[in-house]
């Protein structure tokens, strides 16, 4: 933990070489979260880059470097939410894109070896993101609550519902849950 905080502080100081390390450390979990939410690796690349730009621009104002992880995922979540808002606002072009993503997803589902990740794609966004943050990113409950902007109790109930939905989905697909 001290190592991660140290990296953030070095970036806030303006040590340019620390940025490369920060991105190398946090890009994989950030990308995995975005990928889990949008379903397409190309879209995930674009959104992750957008999120990183926002992170770099906001970093000098981050007052608690030890809270970097929840702050990072909050920004990523906002980036994904902006995309979803645009998707609903411009139904025609966005639906085309969504169909493409879905098609890629179905193909990906055939090739995937990780049952959980395959199951995630079938869950609604709220349930999907809480599972990604808690189980795949290993964020503590309080940090999940901070990222999602809801009380910890809501995170617990959402997690409970998400696990049940995932279990049902995997059972339908013939996996042992």
């Amino acid at each position: 933990m001290a190592g991660e905080e140290l990296l953030v502080v070095r970036c806030q100081l303006g040590e340019r070489e620390a940025f490369r390390e920060l991105v190398a450390t946090w890009h994989p979990p950030l990308w995995r979260y975005v990928r889990g939410m949008v379903g397409s690796p190309h879209l995930a690349d674009d959104l992750a880059q957008e999120a990183w730009v926002a992170v770099v621009r906001g970093l000098p104002r981050l007052r608690q470097p030890e809270r970097f992880a929840p702050w990072l995922f909050t920004i990523a979540r906002r980036t994904v939410a902006d995309l979803l808002r645009q998707t609903y606002r411009a139904p025609e072009t966005a639906m085309e894109e969504a169909r493409t993503v879905l098609a890629e997803d179905e193909l990906g589902g055939v090739l995937t070896t990780m049952q959980i990740e395959a199951g995630l794609a079938a869950l609604p966004p709220l349930e999907r993101e809480v599972l990604i943050l808690f189980h795949l990113e290993d964020l503590p409950l309080a940090s999940c609550a901070e990222v999602l902007g809801v009380p910890a109790g809501t995170v617990k109930s959402r997690l409970h519902r998400a696990r049940r939905m995932l279990r049902n989905h995997l059972a339908e697909k013939g996996y042992e849950a």
Partner: protein, 165 residues
């Protein structure tokens, strides 16, 4: 999981590295600091020249002065916007920028005062000196705060280095 997924999880894409290198560029930040200060200080000197003009100026000359002041202020505002939203200064950059700002005001303020002393009335001189003093004090305060923030972060960095394995 597809090949693209594995690649995405493994490495930082080159395009992202390039984009972030541009985002954190110190040169770009200092360029905007310089542009903003040049615009602001230029506008201030032109304003002193205009205010201390002994005879009434023709309309065209007044319009030219006003335009130049507006252009200078516009550059200062643009640089301020970039440095607050697009390229925010990190702690060390802020100290560097504050030093440059202090040097710029330390040159501009006496230049303005000298112009006012040579060309204007006592009231002009007092107003210019007061304006110069306020700008220099603001630059000094910015430098003090920037150094304090950098010191805090340096202290935290050193403490964390001792804690880190």
């Amino acid at each position: 999981m597809s090949e693209q997924d594995r690649a995405g999880q493994r490495a930082v894409p080159e395009q992202l590295e390039r984009a972030l290198a541009a985002e954190v560029s110190l040169r770009s930040r200092l360029r905007h600091v310089a542009v903003g200060l040049a615009g602001g200080c230029g506008a201030a000197v032109i304003a002193v020249l205009w205010a201390t003009e002994p005879h009434p100026l023709p309309t065209r000359t007044r319009a030219a002065f006003a335009t130049m002041i507006a252009i200078g202020l516009a550059w200062a505002a643009f640089a301020g916007w970039v440095l607050s939203r697009r390229r925010p200064l990190f702690a060390r950059d802020r100290v560097l920028a504050a030093r440059i700002a202090l040097a710029a005001t330390a040159v501009t303020a006496p230049a303005g005062v000298a112009l006012a002393a040579a060309r204007g009335s006592t009231a002009d001189l007092v107003a210019t000196a007061a304006g110069g003093a306020v700008l220099t004090a603001a630059a000094t305060l910015t430098l003090v705060r920037a150094r304090r923030r950098r010191r805090e972060l340096l202290r935290l960095r050193d403490a964390l280095r001792q804690d880190a394995p």
